[in-house]
Symmetry: C2
Subunit: 396 residues, 2 copies
């Protein structure tokens, strides 16, 4: 049985490159940029006053010296200095006129006047050239790379794209995904289950993970464990870029999925990996289609989606992997066996932030994962984690 690391490697080796599409900026939140974005002009685009106050020149400045002034420059306007004009009232965001190089904030100014002429003096002992001015291009130069392809568009990136005037944004096109949940015991959620039946939650789990990648599945199907029907639906599902199955990959006589996949020409890449939960996972490919055969327990599906499906999608999107963290554990956890184990934890902050396991009753528990912030990793080579040990954390 291959290790978690080997399984992940094999999955990431099957990465696919998806085409790109242009979407409107309003539709781009959460999508992944498919091309580098450069600045359309300098930022700031002009010498921008960073304060409300007065613009003057640093040369010849003296404390309490009287400056006559008669004009005011709000943001959104520009102004050329008149001959002998030494000071103007200026607002935050306005362009400092050529010939001036200092802004003094209004709180440091003393206004006066005589004979209808307005005057100002300043309490500062000295001034420095360009104080309180954001110089043109000091943040970003025209044509400079500001957003690399592969970045996911969050609030900061969305705001930056708006500043740059990108009303159309090139993003990675979402792949076509089919979801098939299997199992004779499983009924759709609208149906009242018999005592020994359960409702289909796995397609919801998988859809929820896909929605993080702005993927709306093309089809979501439930199929009982009947060879003919399963074969027909899997055959249809193999049209997609990604086919995700849940259930039917374990050791039981009703676990028909592996044999049907192989009959349909899907090449097995691995079956089973040394993890808990999720050990029976099946992974393979046929031409451009990759197939994830996930086990049937809800928490196994959630774990396999997080540790295998998401990394596959991120790499296919040209994205960095989700960061992995090392945070101190809050308590003691022991176990037997040499599997890499994933268990739900939540943050607990006292003097620092710890990872604290959330209560649940094994991977069949419908509540597994509730109230958790992500998965902690119990490495295969350890049999105990102690309070304060740094452990790997994978956020949801």
């Amino acid at each position: 049985m291959i290790s978690y690391a080997e399984a992940l490697d094999k999955i990431l080796s099957e990465v696919r490159i998806y085409p790109i599409e242009l979407v409107s900026l309003n539709q781009s939140l959460g999508r992944v940029l498919s091309a580098d974005v450069t600045a359309d002009r300098d930022y700031p685009p002009f010498h921008r006053s960073a304060m409300d106050g007065f613009a003057i020149h640093s040369h010849g400045y003296a404390q309490n010296q009287i400056y006559p002034y008669h004009r005011e420059l709000p943001a959104g306007m520009s102004m050329d200095l008149e001959p002998n004009e030494l000071a103007i009232r200026i607002m935050t965001g306005a362009p400092v006129p050529d010939g001036l190089d200092v802004v003094i904030k209004i709180e440091d100014a003393t206004l006066s006047g005589s004979n209808g002429e307005k005057q100002v003096s300043f309490s500062l002992k000295e001034v420095k050239p360009w104080q309180n001015i954001a110089k043109q291009g000091e943040d970003v130069r025209k044509n400079q790379l500001v957003l690399p392809k592969g970045i996911q568009i969050g609030t900061s990136e969305f705001s930056l794209l708006a500043s740059l005037g990108k009303d159309k944004v090139p993003v990675v096109k979402a792949p076509e995904v089919h979801i098939i949940s299997t199992g004779n015991e499983v009924v759709p959620i609208h149906q009242s289950p018999l005592t020994y039946q359960i409702r289909d939650s796995n397609s919801y789990t998988i859809s929820s993970i896909l929605s993080k990648y702005k993927i709306q599945p093309e089809s979501v199907t439930h199929v009982p464990d009947l060879e003919s029907e399963l074969t027909e639906q899997i055959q249809k599902g193999l049209d997609a870029d990604i086919l995700i199955l849940s259930g039917g990959v374990s050791m039981g006589s009703m676990d028909l999925v592996p044999s049907i996949l192989q009959k349909l020409g899907v090449e097995l890449i691995f079956h089973k990996t040394a993890i808990k939960p999720g050990k029976p996972i099946w992974f393979g490919k046929r031409k451009n289609t990759v197939v994830f055969g996930m086990p049937g327990n809800p928490f196994s599906v959630q774990t396999c989606s997080r540790i295998f499906l998401e990394p596959f999608l991120r790499k296919s999107y040209g994205q960095n992997q989700l960061p992995s963290y090392k945070l101190p554990f809050s308590s003691t956890k022991q176990r037997k066996g040499g599997l890499t184990e994933f268990f739900p934890v939540r943050f607990e902050t006292t003097d620092k932030t710890y990872l604290s396991p959330t209560a649940f009753n094994g991977s069949g528990d419908v509540r597994a994962g509730i109230f958790s912030d992500g998965l902690a990793v119990f490495p295969s080579e350890l049999s105990q984690i102690q309070p304060g040990d740094m452990i790997e954390f994978l956020p949801w």
Copy 2:
């Protein structure tokens, strides 16, 4: 000037209670539950076999003893024992028949047979009652509270709601929000800006934050700094549950927002707070409408949205506040002045996870926030943070 903590308190004191609505499960991801959810039945709903193998009774078990068997029970079916039937082949997920209390996994079984009769024996020295069986109700009892109101529906909760058959979910209705960005220097993103003009990114920043709370703003308007037009639009905006303005709240002569709000009968709750960025923020209310007057710099808007608007929304939704973390800082940061400062950081994991500041050029920099995972808090009473110091972190 009031402190950050006082400002946040005043905002949270103005929390509003929004009505509830029923949405289909498919539409509920990311929404906030508005009623407690209880279990419709026991979970597991029956004594569920956790393995593929054989079901027997623990009484009288002996290693290598021969059990005849002739029936197989897949998941999704049930079975009553026949007289003198001592063992059945059973699959994961199937209900263990009354009269049996042990499941032995197939790997521990030896199959044999004679005269067309199937037989099995087991290599285990002993068995324990209920081994490899998830007992009915051991995870959750019927009518037990499983999801409290106020929880946001993520993958685990979505999956659980599906398991419980909740095809309609009661959630908090999103409030009506109007966004007004102000400033003569600001043009819509589709328009080509003149040298001394900039594009409106603030309404995108605010919309992006609102989308985390599944709020689609009712209107997004840009208004120049003209008293009549601003008055008219703000008057309209006061119909909403929440009016969010950006720009026009500082010290300049064009900063008309505070005086217009007060003329329109909006009660000032505070103006300015000792934070950086975002110091000039204005907050007030008129009847059921609350008004956030945010400063005009993009990063100020993003910060004020994260530290003030989001906590307000979460409390109004009956949600817990976003967790705050304490994580070690990667480097040294010094500053003057006694403001509570917020600056963008990203995770950096070596031996443990550190917070590392991201490069940017002040709150006017269009790139502020890019590549960051959240905000770090520089407390007002400190003038230096050193490597390894535990600092507060607010994730985006």
